[in-house]
């Protein structure tokens, strides 16, 4: 089984949740299925990616013919690629792209990440995907998130192989219904061409069916998973806050994540208790608004804003908290509560979060129901039994959610696409 995957991010370079999910999916498949060979196309790899899959840097694939000799090519390309591969790609250039802005190798540069000219980069990515699809051998195409949908569609057109797309988020989640028409059209086009749409939750699947008018028969919920914490993170000691309890929000402080509801709940709790503190970790467009709100409510002494947390800090933050809250207004999946549970911190999540579909040992409330949220926070902080139960059972539950299982489920869908001609007959 050879899979050609298109992705935008991959660890160790992490911009958002997409990198983690891409890593988990590929790793889970490789670990669980010895015959799975994955070729992963990235706009700009950093060269330090793990070697369990074959990485193709799209910025090393030529789209304009350059007659360099072997040694020159060898000196110019990174070590995860051979000159033979370069020549192979060069042999499959399918049109004259010399008008484009290419370098001396005939390749295009990518800024990486999410720069201002994102739409150009998406377009370039899809042009290069045509070359890759012509030169590689594969059984199925898998494209992660809307940035790579055009590349996936292009590869499908060229090769005739089935296309799976993986919906990690939709523009409806990000914009709360006010979609960007360009993004929407790219998403819709990708979904229309896909043979199989994997959505990270049933919630997203319903959005895809309802807002993008897709056939429910080819849409599947494919929930994310988590990797067991590395020893380094496990060794972080849990902080004993003594009589004080710490309730944490961790994520981008933006409308989609519902920080204002958390603040309202915090206000209710602060009015009735003296030993509960609130931590707003993260940055985002609503950061200052939240700081102002805390001050306006007169609880600024109990609400803390430690700012953006990276790497190990995230886990230190979980381990120093007694309760983790994710009040997202709309969350396609939301990996954070799973990570918090791995650290032994019970979570409260909104019913509008996709991860709630696979989690049972968490408290679920409607994001707008600040009374219920405050009640749950208070209960977790005051009742030892509930806290202990959710901590212990949560650890067990999250240990059962593995990427290998996800890999097997994806494989089933692949097989269906390849051998039975998809889901719509």
């Amino acid at each position: 089984m050879k899979v050609l995957m298109f992705g935008w991010e991959f660890p160790p370079k992490i911009y958002g949740g997409l990198a983690v999910a891409s890593y988990g999916i590929t790793k889970g498949m490789v670990e669980g299925q010895p015959d799975a060979e994955i070729t992963f196309c990235l706009p700009k790899p950093c060269g330090e990616e793990e070697k369990f899959l074959r990485i193709i840097g799209m910025n090393q694939v030529p789209i304009v013919y350059r007659g360099h000799d072997y040694n020159y090519v060898k000196s110019r390309i990174p070590d995860y690629m051979t000159p033979e591969q370069y020549y192979n790609f060069r042999d499959h250039i399918y049109a004259d792209f010399s008008y484009m802005n290419v370098n001396d190798m005939g390749c295009m540069e990518f800024a990486g990440g999410y720069p201002g000219n994102l739409h150009d980069e998406i377009n370039n990515f899809s042009i290069i995907a045509g070359v890759v699809a012509r030169s590689e051998q594969f059984d199925i195409i898998h494209a992660h998130d809307w940035l790579t949908y055009p590349a996936g569609v292009h590869a499908k057109m060229v090769s005739g192989k089935p296309l799976c797309i993986h919906v990690h988020a939709t523009d409806f989640d990000r914009s709360r219904g006010k979609v960007n028409p360009t993004v929407y059209s790219i998403e819709k086009n990708g979904m229309d061409h896909a043979d199989c749409i994997m959505c990270v939750s049933e919630l997203t699947r319903q959005t895809v069916i309802r807002e993008y008018h897709q056939d429910p028969r080819k849409c599947f919920a494919m929930h994310n998973a988590v990797y067991p914490l590395p020893q380094e993170y496990l060794d972080i000691p849990r902080v004993d806050n003594g009589k004080e309890k710490v309730v944490t929000f961790l994520g981008r402080i933006t409308m989609q994540k519902g920080p204002e509801y958390f603040m309202e709940a915090a206000d209710l709790v602060c009015k009735r208790s003296k030993n509960i503190r609130f931590c707003f970790a993260g940055s985002g467009d609503k950061y200052w608004e939240m700081v102002d709100l805390a001050a306006a409510k007169g609880i600024a002494d109990r609400v803390h804003f430690p700012g953006f947390q990276r790497g190990k800090q995230v886990y230190e933050c979980y381990k120093a908290s007694d309760v983790f809250v994710m009040p997202s207004v709309s969350e396609p999946f939301g990996i954070a509560p799973l990570e918090a549970m791995q650290c032994g911190t019970p979570s409260i999540i909104s019913k509008q979060s996709g991860c709630g579909e696979i989690l049972d040992k968490v408290i679920k409330v409607d994001y707008w129901d600040i009374n219920a949220m405050a009640d749950a926070i208070y209960s977790l902080c005051t009742n030892e039994g509930l806290h202990t139960y959710l901590r212990d059972e949560g650890l067990k539950e999250v240990a059962e959610i593995t990427w290998v299982k996800v890999g097997h489920r994806i494989r089933k869908l692949y097989d269906e696409c390849i051998y039975n001609g998809g889901f719509i007959h």
Partner: protein
């Protein structure tokens, strides 16, 4: 002759309302009046009324037909308040004389697992209620959800019951059959009636999913081996109409039982009649059993840490509530104890019905909020005295009660001795010496009689003695019946 012992329970909890933590200390009313009225009316209309009417008709048509009931205090309060026609029907069926009422803990709670005195007081209260409503003091006991172990058995025997109903659970019966009369391992005076799980659940659990005919069911009973004469069919009265809708024909099934039983030579018996017979042996039950779930134990109420925390917290104030003499608090105490509140918090898979709650955590949070308020009210009664002090006082009360009880016995013994002496003395007709104690006896008797009821009816009056306000005990002890009225207003 084989005998079927039919028994149905009537219990509905008083539903708690949505109670947020910011209500703690501000709102002391815990009940969802709308839900209570709605659910009890729904159940009465769909189940209790038609089922009781059918049973009354059956009693009238078949003089040999017998059936037993028990009521929980909470259920009874609800019925009296919202659906008194059910109580009327119960009195009507009672007047046929083919019915027996059993006793159960007033609150349908788990006090039997937590606090002996509270348990005894509750049982006493329920027994009085049954006596008042139906004219007879119950002789046979059934614990909430048939929870039983040897200790409970001993305690129930000490309260004067001659029999107890419990589950014919596989883990205690082993190869034995539930179709015999057994007795409690720790007190042979107490007979055990064990539920036949299969035959009971053919009706209570499986009637809709695996419908059976009454003749087939009775054939199974008739074909039990020779000598296995007691068939205990226990269930809840809501089996008829709620667990299985009336259109499933369950009442027709019920009606057919006495007719077909007669054809097969099977009779009916009441629990107290069976308990007068001789038992075939003891059953040892070291661990709790009940009639719930496949495990037949207490795991659905006390299976996880949340449930245990709630349970421990609740019963941590049991003694204080019992001796406080505050009626309002004791009323709330009954409602909070109901085992259903704990069942809503179960995390066992497959449990669907959770009342107004959408998850076990929600149920726990709500209950703990209410409990928080309740406990602070109880503690306020004691003016913030710390636990040790109060526990000390309670122990003192208990010890004094025990002492009085011992003295009572001693007096009784001496009095009998005295009578023995007096008898020959009277025969002699002449004795200046025994006259002296004869005079003393009545003097001694007077305080003894006063102490006797005090020692027996829990510690409430004695608390008053200790607190030096005996006036308070009088209203608390009287008027135990009409407690629903002030609360609901």
């Amino acid at each position: 002759m084989k005998k079927i012992c039919l028994y149905f329970e009537i219990h509905q909890i008083i539903h708690l309302k949505r109670y947020r933590f910011f209500d703690i200390g501000r709102d002391h009313y815990y009940y969802d009046d709308y839900e209570n009225e709605r659910s009890i009316n729904y159940i009465a209309e769909r189940s209790y009324v038609p089922a009781l009417q059918t049973l009354i008709q059956m009693c009238k048509d078949h003089p040999e037909f017998k059936v037993a009931f028990s009521l929980s205090g909470c259920g009874l309060e609800q019925l009296e308040f919202h659906a008194p026609q059910v109580v009327d029907l119960l009195q009507e069926i009672n007047s046929t004389g083919q019915v027996e009422f059993l006793c159960e803990p007033y609150s349908h709670g788990l006090a039997s697992l937590a606090n002996e005195e509270s348990f005894a007081a509750e049982v006493k209260r329920m027994s009085d209620r049954i006596k008042e409503l139906f004219g007879k003091r119950p002789k046979v006991f059934r614990n909430s959800s048939l929870i039983y172990n040897d200790e409970i058995g001993a305690q129930v025997a000490a309260m004067g019951f001659k029999g107890i109903l419990t589950e014919g659970a596989k883990q205690v019966l082993g190869w034995k059959s539930p179709h015999y009369l057994y007795h409690c391992a720790s007190d042979p005076r107490l007979k055990l009636l064990l539920r036949d799980i299969n035959l009971s659940e053919d009706i209570t659990e499986r009637f809709t999913s695996h419908p059976i005919m009454a003749d087939q069911w009775l054939d199974w009973i008739a074909s039990t081996p020779e000598g296995e004469d007691i068939i205990n069919i226990f269930g809840e009265l809501v089996t008829f109409g709620i667990f299985h809708p009336l259109q499933s024909g369950i009442l027709e099934f019920l009606k057919a039982i006495p007719v077909l039983a007669k054809e097969r030579g099977i009779g009916f018996a009441l629990p107290s009649e069976l308990c007068s017979e001789k038992s075939v042996g003891a059953i040892e039950v070291p661990y709790n059993i009940s009639w719930v779930d496949e495990e037949r134990d207490t795991s659905c109420w006390l299976g996880n840490v949340m449930q245990r925390e709630a349970f421990n917290k609740l019963y941590s104030v049991a003694d204080r509530v019992r001796v406080c003499g505050d009626r309002r608090i004791q009323m709330d105490w009954d409602c909070l104890q109901a085992s259903n509140n704990f069942r809503f918090m179960t995390t066992k898979p497959g449990y669907q019905y959770r009342g107004i709650y959408d998850s076990p955590y929600d149920a726990f949070t709500n209950y703990m909020n209410i409990l928080g308020d309740f406990i602070s009210r109880v503690n306020n009664l004691y003016g913030g005295a710390d636990n040790e002090e109060i526990d000390g006082l309670i122990t003192m009360i208990k010890n004094q009660g025990d002492e009085l009880a011992n003295k009572d016995k001693e007096i009784e013994r001496l009095r009998k001795k005295l009578e023995k002496y007096e008898a020959p003395a009277a025969a002699e007709k002449q004795a200046p010496a025994p006259k002296a104690p004869a005079k003393k006896a009545p003097a001694k008797k007077a305080p003894a009689k006063k102490a006797a009821p005090a020692a027996k009816t829990a510690s409430a009056p004695k608390a008053a003695e200790v607190k030096k306000e005996p006036a308070k005990k009088a209203p608390a002890e009287k008027a135990p019946a009409k407690k629903a009225t002030p609360k609901k207003k």
